[in-house]
Point group: C2
Chain length 129, copies 2
Amino acid sequence: MKGHNFSSKREAIFKTIASTKTHPSASWVYDQLKEEIPNLSLGTVYRNIALFKEQGKIITVASVDGEERIDADVSDHAHFICEHCSSVIDLYETELSPLEKQLFESGFDIKRKNVVFHGICCECKEKLN
Amino acid sequence: MKGHNFSSKREAIFKTIASTKTHPSASWVYDQLKEEIPNLSLGTVYRNIALFKEQGKIITVASVDGEERIDADVSDHAHFICEHCSSVIDLYETELSPLEKQLFESGFDIKRKNVVFHGICCECKEKLN
DNA sequence: ATTGTTGCAAAAATTTTGCATTATC
DNA sequence: GATAATGCAAAATTTTTGCAACAAT
């Protein structure tokens, strides 16, 4: 069975993903860890990210500037992506959409809802003025 | 100035994007057109897609299986992406989110809202049983 | 021992780009 | 003729994979 589940590198990769709110890309995770774990390879980061996704421990938020950005917070929440600084910001939303009920009634099986706002974040907006 | 704006290829590319509900990828558009326009090149498709995006004539819906999927329907609507067949389906939603108001009040500049549901579409769901 | 995990480098795959050529105004 | 658009192929990027070596039970 895959996911034996001990490997200090796997653990370090997950910890890095889980302990940031940056919604990192694979290469960001790799860069964070390569000082601490010099013989880490990028392939391992990708392989573990794929595993975590299968296990439902992380989700993909969006592709930003050609890179997939992930999140270890799998709770139902929305995101704001800044077109200027490419940061991804969490937004917590409580309301349930009537659309979801409609989809369910039409026979769709909703596994995940991904709400992403695109625009200019308040920090960049200030800088740009 | 960029966007002279006539080129029969540009026109054909836009027409292809605008006249499908498949939310195509660049290579799908290319494949559709290469019979009709044998000397079309994929680079041109990419360059025109980038231009249409700048012009606000199309938007990116999501990245599916590593390919960016676009939509010439720039009206505010949601999408459902099937994990099984990778189809992207339009969903029209009328309600406005209270979250948007909140973001606006916090100084964010929302340019686009992207609501994507992931799951199994009703057709695949039937087939899988 | 057996099965899982990794490093490394090569390979895939998508997207971008440089430059000479062609089309449009 | 000047500017914009394209073809082609090479390059850049991100992601995946094969395989031998290593680690864990």
